[in-house]
Amino acid sequence: MNLTIFLLALFDGIAYAALVFSVAVGLTLIFGVMRILNVAHGSLYAVGAYLTATLTGYALALGFAPLLAFPLMIASAVLVGVLVGGPIEWLLLRRIYNKPEVLQLLVTFAVFMILEDVQRLVWGTQPYFQAAALQALGMVRVFGVNYTVYQLILLPLLALTLLVGLRFFLRHTILGKLILATTEDREAAQSIGINADKVFLVTFIVGAALAGLGGALASPTTSILPGMGADMIVLSFAVVATAGLGQIEGAAFTALLIGLGRSFAVYVWPETAVLVPYLIMLIVLLVRPEGLFGSPTARKI
């Protein structure tokens, strides 16, 4: 492995980690607050990617500049959050907060199955390519390696902004504090007048929008095709579980760990690239069942 390949693997890993992080952070946020593992999260990611590709395609066909792709990404993410995420929480999840964990899993799994087919109905089975955003920013040369500005600079910057922004949102804004209070103790929060239903709805919309944003950001760098949601939900679960469910900062670290592990595997032994994330997760969970950053929960008797 020479320096060029090392750098390529490093950059690939960072860019990939940034994408996975934005999906995984939504998953871990929803779990942290609502104690529900949203299996449909992968579908929201896929819908975000499809929506961005379609909207960008329209915009380009109408003669707008390729730079318009960036606001469209944000717009897609918000649309996914409000139009897909909102109804899911409003119509379904709200009914099952008191049901056993297994039933909650089954419900989000059912939503996942439904959304997989909805994608196929709306966008067909042909892969989509929409690299306007990637090309609009051009290339950069680092230590003799050419790499896209989009993946090397924009994606990691965005991921960092997300991390810092989410931290600020949760700790220093009223809404964020309401969310934290509800997470800590739902009944106590309600008794001091916090509308827990609303907090859950907002959290789910934010989480869903983050999944959509991950898809939107991924859309210029990959071909968008059916089945991408299934891969992503398992991968982001691996990230979230390795970090410890509900750990936002931890998810950033493990996304990087898994992203780098995967990209180095691509260059060293390509067949195993798919396995590396799971191997990392299995090894971590063998040693620390609550994840790298999770704390063991006291048992309620």
Partner: protein, 322 residues
């Protein structure tokens, strides 16, 4: 009480008569029975309050073990193929099980999913050994040294499946009633109490997990032999999801429900795919939601309620179908 015994007996007889009364249904029914056996595996875990989104893993491991055996040993006997395939599923069940029984709920479900995705990608990527997405052929095994034609062989497989359904169904129900099975089900109701009794919940869950892997493996190898080809699709998450779906449809935790659910599912799938092929998962997902929200006891629950009304007796403890 007679009605309660007569209806299942009549159903079994009706299934056994299919090769003569309605030969065109024989293959469909055989696949449904194979799937039903696998679904019982998922049902077992539901009894402990756990759901696995990755049990297609054992389905596929058994089918591939059978295919590899037949490839390296042409004309292997059916009994040997079954034995090796199911042992493969059991062995992998022990290895994976030792790891996953430390977890419950979400982690249990998702770790199983991760294992099945790992196996699926191995099957897809290492195509020199596994034939990639095309899979590998599983030639017809010999039966007691005889190389049979297609017709008689399919007939033997059909009755073998029926026999296995009865045998394994009976065994599973007995197992639930056994001390090990009772301890296993306590994981759902009160795991802490198990620990206070000095019983290891991990070990109890492992025993059920191995049983479920064996059942899924049996279903998988029958499916592979009947179809004559095994593909990575056997291990795909949609397969696992399908099994969970059927288990919930039939009645979560009911062995008979698993078979009834599998037969209904296969029949609907074959006849509905003509006009709903594109939205099949959508239909499944919608149905799953309806069952969970409005009929949590599944088909067996509805059947029990109807039977109770017919016989004019309320359902008291004992009336629950296994």
């Amino acid at each position: 009480m007679t009605l309660r015994l007569a209806i299942p007996a009549l159903l079994i007889l009706a299934v056994a008569a299919i090769p003569f009364a309605a030969p065109q249904l024989q293959l469909l029914m055989n696949l449904a029975l194979a799937k039903g056996i696998a679904v019982v595996g998922v049902t077992v875990l539901l009894r402990a309050g756990q759901v696995s989104f990755g049990h297609a893993l054992y389905f596929a491991i058994a089918a591939y073990a059978a295919a590899f055996l037949s490839a390296s040993m042409p004309g292997a006997d059916l009994a040997l193929v079954l034995l090796v395939a199911i042992s493969g599923a059991v062995l992998s069940g022990i290895v994976v099980g030792l790891f996953v029984v430390r977890y419950r709920g979400i982690f249990f479900g998702m770790l199983n999913l991760a294992f099945s995705m790992i196996f699926w990608s191995i099957l897809e990527k290492f195509y020199h050994y596994t034939g990639g997405a095309d899979g590998i052929r599983l030639p017809r095994p010999t039966v007691f040294g005889m190389a049979l034609e297609r017709g008689p062989f399919e007939l033997i497989m059909f009755y073998l499946s029926v026999a296995l359904v009865l045998l394994l169904g009976w065994f599973t129900i007995r197992w639930f009633a056994s001390p090990t099975g009772q301890i296993f089900q306590t994981i759902k109701t009160n795991e802490t109490r198990l620990q206070y009794l000095g019983v290891s919940p991990q070990r109890a869950l492992l025993s059920g997990y191995i049983l479920s892997a064996a059942l899924c493996g049996t279903g998988g190898v029958i499916m592979g032999i009947v179809q004559g080809v095994v593909t990575p699709e056997f291990a795909w998450w949609i397969r696992s999801g399908e099994m969970v779906f059927i288990a919930v449809l039939g009645g979560a935790g009911s062995v008979a429900g698993a078979f009834v659910g599998a037969v209904i599912y296969e029949a609907v799938r074959v006849y509905a795919s003509a006009f709903a092929g594109d939205i099949w998962q959508l239909v499944l997902g919608g149905f799953l939601l309806v069952i969970i929200l409005f009929a949590p006891k599944g088909v067996i629950g509805i059947y029990d309620a109807a039977l109770a009304r017919l016989t004019g007796k309320g359902l008291t403890g004992k009336g629950r179908s296994e």
